[in-house]
Amino acid sequence: MTTSMPSSSHAHAASSEFCMELENVGISYGSNEAVRGVYMQIPHGKVTAFIGPSGCGKSTVLRALNRMNDLIEGCTLKGRVIFDGQDLYAPQVDPVEVRRRIGMVFQKPNPFPKSIYENIAFGARINGYRGDMDELVERSLRKAAIWDETKDKLKESGYALSGGQQQRLCIARAIAIEPEVILMDEPCSALDPISTLKIEEMMHELKKSYTIVIVTHNMQQAVRVSDMTGFFNVTPKADGDGKVGCLEEFAATETIFNAPTQQATQDYVSGRFG
């Protein structure tokens, strides 16, 4: 079953209204189709959450938004991902430039084996930042709500921090290059509840200046942080055996959790499934 069109289906609305638009996106690993038929319009300055059971392709779609899937052998994408009026998968697009404007935070904290200061400065430097580096490092760490904990040990290794602090350092690192969009792939799944809370609070702050897309397994988290929610599901393929992921429903978070139009969404968010 391909997905039903999202409930709020403005066919080609003014592109300024949306930050990113996915048009009939399908992604395959080799001959294995992971997700198909995704239509989605991600609004500016909002937090958009992807939820759904394991293997439904939500991380795959997230990684498609800044061409991280290019690193995976045999991964191919059909359809269009439009950002800033440009199809990201057009042949003349430079994926490095895409990732400079659409940053990413990963599931496992992955600071570089460098000092805290260098972790932030690295991205800025390779992107040709010409300004006060100390000021940029402080601003980024403040935005990621980790400045107070690190200001006295900027020269220490990023590994000296706890897991939650490392993840906030990684977010600070992503913010430092001033992207327009920040993608987060289950950023709190390896963290304790207190660190999770800090990151969620930070996201409310961040969405004032950035568009955020987050994949989460935690439905309460989606409710707490997001404005829009996309529910992904796995469905058996119509044309044979095997399963494929699809976007079941995409709407305001309140709608998804209180009055979803699809039965599968209702079952998932109420915990009867998945």
Binding site: R99, M104, N110, G123
Partner: protein, 304 residues
């Protein structure tokens, strides 16, 4: 659930119950002891050659150690005294040439295998070739470079030269360097690469600024071990660097090396030369030991 588990077995127990005290006369305990002893004997036999070689070289060559030994030329046959200064410098020069060739090529090849290749047929072929090359006897490397460089007088019409010796040793070092670089880069967590690429680093920047520094210690360890192995090789140098009783005369002339000096002097009928061969053995063993210890010391940083 269906089987009945009664606390009191009605029938005879299947196994006899004996005392918990250790009974050393039991067959299993005697075999146990026997094989423990056998294994220990073999373990001692395995380290015996190492200890004996080190001890013998130490006793025979260590007593000759002096400043003169390290700084003077070997004496003409029949005369006493002298040293192995030219051979020490020669070994360093030839190994340096080999390193200058093998490290860039090997590390570059390893980077290709681990970072750029998608494990297609070409990468598989290079990996297989590297394994084969590491098993090629060193004398064959020597003959190969002899045929390629020495007999064709490739370098400025010179035949035997330090350069040819260095190239021959670099062929021996290459597989070690490629393999350790490949393995070391594969150990770098994938998340680290994603992190760099996710903030807009190009592949080149990711490799040079993130992955290579992260893998530096194991690569350096492998390189040092490769150098240590190459420095002790004799066979490839006999055909290529030859030998010289004089101080080194540039890269394109024959040069003395310690391993060839040992080979030449140990079979001479003169006491002084035989003594120098022992002294050179001692110095060479100490140098290689030091390189290995240095590699172990480097490896400690990987765990730290």
């Amino acid at each position: 659930m269906t089987s009945t588990t009664s606390p009191l077995p009605a029938q005879q127990p299947s196994f006899s119950r004996s005392s918990l005290r250790l009974n050393s006369s039991l067959a299993r305990n005697r075999w146990n002891q026997f094989f423990t002893v056998v294994a220990a004997v073999f373990a001692v036999m395995a380290v015996l050659p190492l200890v004996l070689v080190l001890g013998y070289v130490l006793v025979k060559g260590g007593t000759l150690l002096s400043i003169r030994l390290l700084t003077e030329l070997p004496p003409p046959p029949g005369l006493d005294g002298g040293g192995i200064g030219n051979a020490i410098i020669g070994t360093i020069v030839v190994t340096l040439v080999a390193s200058l060739i093998a490290i860039p090529v090997g590390v570059g090849g390893g980077i290709y295998l681990a970072e750029y290749s998608r494990s297609g047929w070409f990468a598989q072929f290079v990996r297989f070739g590297t394994n084969v090359l590491s098993g090629v006897p060193s004398i064959i490397c020597g003959v190969f470079i002899y045929g390629l460089i020495v007999s064709t007088r490739l370098f400025f019409g010179q035949s035997y030269s330090a350069m040819a010796g260095g190239v021959a040793l670099s062929v021996l070092m290459l597989p070690t360097v490629i393999k350790t670089t490949d393995e070391a880069l594969k150990l770098v967590p994938q998340e680290l690469r994603w992190g760099a690429i996710g903030i807009g680093a190009s592949r080149f920047v990711t490799i040079t600024r993130i992955t290579l520094p992260a893998a530096f210690t194991p690569i350096a360890t492998g390189v040092v071990l490769g150098i240590a192995r190459a420095a002790g090789e004799t066979a490839p140098l006999i055909f290529t660097a030859l030998f010289s009783p004089f101080w080194a005369e540039g890269l394109f002339n024959p040069i003395a090396t310690m391993s060839v000096l040992i080979f030449n002097f140990a079979i001479m009928p003169y006491e002084a030369q035989i003594a120098l061969a022992w002294a050179a053995s001692f110095v060479l063993v100490v140098m290689i030991l030091a390189a290995n210890l240095f590699a172990r010391w480097l490896a400690r940083f990987a765990r730290a």
